[in-house]
């Protein structure tokens, strides 16, 4: 990755123009051509530096729901339970963290009622309690990773 790739990543994490020739528009401040920007984005997608290039939906505005949940799993059961939990298609990401509550995952469902029922099914499947910690208030979201 060279200096121009870095600039592309930093600039386009902030947003992308919505106009007939957006790549041309975005290429201007980078000092490159539209064709070069397109080619570089394709390479960054191909070598998986970028996950995606497009919209991040706010699931709640579309009627869906998200929550953060945690479980306390004995170390020797952890991998087994992680596998059980991850089999639920509603699980987005799942991390092991260093705390008594050691399994932390995000659930996303089509509507808010399904959060409760999915949590119930996870508890039944695994035999462990799920602590549901939905967002009550959002102070800040600014996922920006300068490179």
């Amino acid at each position: 990755m060279d200096e121009i790739d870095r600039k592309i990543i930093n600039q386009l994490q902030r947003g992308f123009p919505i106009c007939p020739r957006p790549y041309e528009e975005a290429a201007k401040p980078l000092g490159i051509t539209e064709a070069e920007l397109i080619q570089r984005i394709e390479s960054l997608l191909e070598n998986k530096t970028l996950t995606r290039f497009g919209p991040m939906y706010q699931i709640e505005k579309a009627g869906g729901a998200f929550t953060l949940a945690a479980m306390s799993i004995p170390e020797d059961e952890f991998d087994k339970v992680a596998e059980q939990v991850n089999q639920f298609p509603e699980i987005a990401h799942n991390y092991e963290r260093d705390h008594k509550l050691n399994m932390w995952f995000v659930l996303g469902t089509e509507n808010p009622n399904e959060i409760t029922s999915t949590i119930q099914r996870i508890e039944e499947t695994t035999g462990y309690k799920v602590y549901n910690m939905p967002k009550l208030e959002e102070f800040y979201v600014g996922l920006y990773f300068p490179v």
């Binding site: 994490q13 919505i18 997608l45 996950t51 290039f53 939906y57 509603e90 699980i91 987005a92 602590y131």
Partner: protein, 185 residues
């Protein structure tokens, strides 16, 4: 100018969820797919951004790939009277990527304010946390730092077309989470 009908809007959501076409006229490409004009697509996406349905439109990076290998969930036990004020201070600090208020789950969990700090390694994250405590005057507040060891799965919520053969009813589209196992040691 006419607006996109419901079916076209659903089709557009599906068409862009995997990413904007990498083509000089991406909105025209989308218009061709859903049977509308380029301008209608542009207006619709602008409307979604303004309404908040689209939170952000741009690059989504693989942060591990770019060297952001450490992330800590930092949780605080803040009195309910102070939580708005402190949430606002943390927001202003520019040192976190997320800050949410969530419920306590007593007796096992007494933290109600959550933020995320991302960094290239643990020492950088801890340094940022020290800065955060100082800048936001959080030294007196009980907190805990939960670093992650292993990430099992990472994917975003997305519109998924369940039955491609019958795209006529919006209910055939559902939120689906792509299954993907990612290990980071």
């Amino acid at each position: 100018m006419t607006e996109l009908n419901d079916i076209q809007q659903q089709a557009l959501k599906c068409a862009i969820q995997e990413g904007l076409p990498v083509d000089p006229r991406p909105y025209q490409v989308l218009a061709d797919i859903i049977g509308s004009s380029e301008q209608e697509v542009i207006s619709c996406i602008e409307k979604w951004i303004n309404s908040g349905l689209i939170k952000r439109f741009g690059l989504v990076i693989k942060h591990h790939k770019l060297g952001y290998n450490a992330n800590a969930m930092v949780v605080w036990n803040v009195s309910d009277e102070l939580v708005d004020d402190i949430g606002e201070r943390i927001k202003q600090s520019g040192l976190v990527t997320l800050c949410y208020r969530r419920p306590r789950r007593l007796p096992n969990w007494n933290y109600n304010l959550f933020c995320m700090i991302h960094g290239k390694d643990r020492s950088q994250v801890l340094e940022q946390l020290e800065q955060l405590r100082e800048v936001c005057q959080l030294n007196e507040i009980e907190h805990d730092v939960l670093f992650s060891y292993k990430q099992f799965k990472q994917c975003g919520g997305r519109f998924h077309k369940q039955h491609p053969s019958s795209p006529s009813t919006p209910s055939t589209y559902q939120w689906n989470i792509e299954k993907k196992a990612v290990n980071h040691g």
